[in-house]
């Protein structure tokens, strides 16, 4: 055997070792995080219960139902529409693990785009996981995923993504963005099918109020904001007044009529629900950030954002204290509570959510204190 054949065999063995090691890491990202439902959860369904073709795919996801003893309305919370926006996902997890509903029904989907949790955005250097310590001193781990569905689950991207019901054209990769695919299509791609299943669930369950929880980079104009469909505007106005009284600055944005495929547009147009979308500030997905790691995702402290603030380039106040995950989850939780109260008051559809930390409580605590 010649010398270069021997090196080729040695290198193939190295390839095998690297592939097994890295492949193991990539495969492990498909394991769903452990979510420990609290005593408020009365039933766990699957999204595929509303659209059977999702069954067995990575587009299927858990749907947690918290039903109160008294009759009332129904509220839906979508976390993880974008899996790289941890406050939205973790707010939904806190609701599943802590909330108790005495009247009406709260339905929570923490991983709305389950496929997006199974990979990371390439070249972003994002952390694989974020960690917390619960009250019992145990470690809890949650995925930091991607903005879009995994290409392994949905391929190829078209050059131009055409939104099915409007013909709106966006860049090809948006075809895997859950929040560009509503109301969805039964015979569409996996992301459109997930949208379709969520829309079907809203119709079948006759959900009155729908929250879609997001984060955005601090230089993005729509931040610390609630985006509301025109039908949801009364709830949004009344709720944001309540938030204002608590010292939570929340800007109110009307859902643009010609920006299609988003929850706050299509769920309002195609179903009877009142959709609201909330945004908090996440430096770890911003373009001006420094080192991208778990610490940045959790404390939001970044000296480059402090400099950007000094230059007047941001849409949220930014100082060396950053924007912690507690502040961001606290804003979302308080938003869910305040807008739900406004919905109760305006439409008489009572949904009473208890045992959820308010903004002030969350700000003074550690997120792990509210994990089981």
């Amino acid at each position: 055997m010649k010398r270069h054949h021997i090196t080729a065999i040695v290198l193939l063995v190295v390839v095998a070792a690297i592939s097994v090691y890295t492949g193991g890491i990539f495969l492990s990202l498909r394991e769903p995080d452990v979510i420990k439902p609290g005593e408020g959860v009365t039933e766990v369904r699957k999204l595929s219960d509303y659209f059977a073709p999702l069954k067995g795919t990575r587009g299927d996801t858990d749907v947690y139902v918290l039903k109160g003893e008294q009759e009332g309305g129904k509220v839906l919370v979508l976390g993880g529409t974008h899996a790289n926006e941890p406050s939205g996902y973790l707010t939904a997890v806190v609701l599943v693990e802590q909330a108790k509903v005495t009247a009406g029904e709260l339905i929570v989907i923490p991983r709305a785009n389950n496929s997006a949790f199974t990979h990371n955005d390439s070249q972003e250097g994002a952390p694989l996981y974020v960690h917390f310590t619960n009250a019992a001193g145990e470690e809890r781990q949650f995925r930091y995923g991607s903005r879009a569905s995994n290409v392994i689950d949905q391929w190829p991207d078209p050059d131009v993504y055409e939104h099915a019901s409007s013909g709106q054209q966006l860049s090809g990769s948006e075809t895997r963005n859950l929040n560009r695919g509503y109301p969805g299509r039964a015979d569409g791609n996996l992301t459109e099918q997930m949208c379709y299943a969520i829309t079907e669930m809203i119709k079948k369950e006759d959900i009155g109020l729908t929250f879609d929880l997001h984060e955005a980079s601090p230089e993005y104009p729509v931040i610390n904001a609630t985006v509301a469909h025109e039908r949801s505007m009364d709830i949004a106005a009344m709720g944001s007044f309540d938030l204002d009284m608590m010292g939570i600055a929340m800007s109110l944005e009307p859902s643009p009529v010609n920006l299609r495929g988003l929850t706050h547009r299509e769920l309002g147009d195609f179903t009877d629900t009142y959709p609201l979308l909330m945004e908090t500030a996440n430096a770890s997905q911003g373009r001006l950030r420094g080192a991208t790691n778990e610490k940045l995702a959790l404390d939001g402290k970044d000296k480059y954002y402090v400099s950007a603030e000094a230059l007047g380039m941001l849409y949220v106040p930014y100082d060396e204290n950053g924007h912690s995950i507690e502040e961001r989850v606290g804003r979302h939780l308080q938003g869910v509570l305040s807008y739900t109260t406004a919905y109760n008051d305006l439409y008489g559809e009572v949904v009473t959510i208890e045992n959820v930390p308010t903004y002030d409580v969350m700000l003074a605590a550690k997120l792990g204190d509210y994990l089981n």
């Binding site: 090196t7 390839v15 990539f26």
Partner: protein, 47 residues
């Protein structure tokens, strides 16, 4: 569509492995090795 893609990918992978064995310069063999890894992971639909 995915099957066609994977068949093309498998063909490229086979050619790179063949190159790894015919190439006599270690430097070029190392290059081939690096190219093989993502091809293997995609062929197995892992990444």
């Amino acid at each position: 569509m995915t099957i066609v893609y994977l068949v093309i990918l498998a063909a490229v992978l086979a050619l790179v492995i063949w190159n790894l064995f015919t190439e006599e310069k270690l430097q070029n063999q190392l290059t081939a090795m690096m190219v093989i890894i993502p091809l293997v992971l995609r062929l197995l639909m892992i990444k």
